[in-house]
Each structure stands twice: as C-alpha cells, then as structure tokens.
C-alpha cells in the first residue's frame, strides 16, 4: 500500500512539474523544472512519517551528492547534444554512468 501511494504521488508530482516545464518559455527556463526535486517531494512526507526526521536529514545530506552528480550529468548531456547531435534518448541514457560515477565518488570520499 505504501509503495502504491508513493507510485501515485511520484507520478503526479513528476507530471505536474513536467507540465510547468512544457508551458514556460524560453525552453531553457522550462528546463529548470527538469531539475526539480520531484522524487524528494514525493517521498519525504511519507518517509518522515514512517522513519522520522533524523532519517530524512541523512537522506538530505546524501541528496547533495546526488544533486552534484545530476549537475555533472546534465552538463555532459547538454554539451554532447549541442556538439554532436545524437538522438536525445540515446545521449541521455548512455550518459547515465556519469551520474553514477560522480554520485558514488562523492559517497566514497564524503558520505561513507
């Protein structure tokens, strides 16, 4: 039941932010919504209720590492798309290891 609720809340939050991203002009401004804290907003309320504030605070600290990795990933995707013009899906999917590498490097050197 908890996972179903998270699925519905997560889907709704992502859809809402996507719509805002679609309607805002210029396109780069709409893109800011692609970096919105959608997953966090969808989960923190339920997580805080179930696990407590301390658990969420620890998640917040780690999330900083994930967000730095997101920044590196988005820069690589943007540059590659502009410079080499591959398909967006291929580029954004194949660049995913950039996120993983930066996130886990931060985990290894700071969070662990």
């Amino acid at each position: 039941m908890d996972l179903l609720l998270r699925f519905v809340i997560g889907g709704s939050v992502v859809s809402l932010f996507s719509i805002w991203g679609d309607v805002l002009k210029p396109k780069s401004l709409g893109g800011v919504f692609a970096g919105a804290p959608t997953i966090a907003l969808a989960t923190i309320l339920l997580t805080a209720h179930k696990e407590g504030a301390h658990f969420v605070a620890i998640e917040g600290r780690s999330m900083m590492g994930g967000a730095v990795a997101f920044f590196a990933y988005a820069c690589v995707v943007s540059f590659t798309l502009m410079r080499f013009k591959p398909s967006a899906l291929k580029c954004a999917s194949l660049a995913m290891p950039v996120w993983a590498a930066v996130a886990f490097a931060i985990w290894a050197f700071w969070l662990r």
């Binding site: 893109g31 970096g35 997953i39 969808a42 590492g65 013009k85 969070l111």
Partner: protein
C-alpha cells in the same frame, strides 16, 4: 529577456505522453524508496536526485520540435536535438537548486517541523535554480 507561458504546447502532448511521464515518475519514486529501504538513508539519499525522468523529458522535447518543423515541411532532426540540449542546460541550473534543496533539508529537518522544512527547501530550490538560469543566460 522575454519570459512567457505557452499553453498551446500542452496540445502537442498526447495522452500517451502524459501516461508515460506519470508511470516513469511513479516507478523512479518507488525505486528510490526500495533502495533507501534496502541500503539505508546514505545510499537512498543519493537516489532522491537521480535524473531518471530527464531522458524521457528530453525525448519528448526532441519529438515535439521535430513535429513542429515537419508541419512547416522541413526536417527538424538537428533542431530537435538542439532544443533538447537547451532543455538539458536548463536542467543543469535546476540541479544547482537541487543542491540547495538537499542542503536545506539536511540542516532544517532536525530543527524545524516537516512542513516548514520542506517550504524552506523548496524556496531554496526556486531561488538558486532560477538565479542560476538567469546568471547563465546573461553570461
């Protein structure tokens, strides 16, 4: 710098696009929860900033741009990919806001109740994300 709302864009999005975004968003949220449950908050927290919804978002942007050019009888492949690049650049500004959001959650959750903490964090995302976009636009 001209900013506006273009609700006509919503007509280009098909019901299938809305459903796929909803399902993708739900699945990424559930996956982040399962990872936090299995590996704890240190690893789980990393996945609160997982860019899982960016690939489908950029694909949709490319698709819409190509369709727009096709209506004018032109090939829009390169234009579509450039549009997706611009959106990814915007996402990089949003991700700087995400760092501020996470910092605010980390520091405020043990001091303030949940809703004020979330409000502070969301405000931090808005201010830093849009400031980063604005500064980048002026460079």
């Amino acid at each position: 710098m001209h900013m506006s709302l273009d609700f006509g864009k919503l007509k280009m999005t098909t019901p299938g696009d809305y459903i796929s975004r909803f399902v993708f968003g739900g699945l990424v949220t559930v996956a982040a929860t399962l990872i936090a449950n299995r590996f704890g908050p240190v690893i789980g927290g990393l996945f609160l900033a997982f860019p899982g919804i960016l690939p489908p978002g950029l694909t949709l942007t490319e698709k819409h741009a190509v369709e727009k050019k096709a209506q004018a009888g032109e090939s829009g492949t390169r234009f579509g990919r450039a549009e997706a690049s611009v959106e990814a650049a915007g996402a990089s500004a949003g991700s700087l806001g995400l760092i501020a959001f996470a910092f605010a959650i980390w520091k405020s959750m043990l001091i303030y109740p949940l809703l004020p903490s979330l409000s502070i964090a969301f405000g931090a995302w808005l201010i830093v994300g849009f400031s980063a976009w604005w500064i980048r636009k002026r460079m």
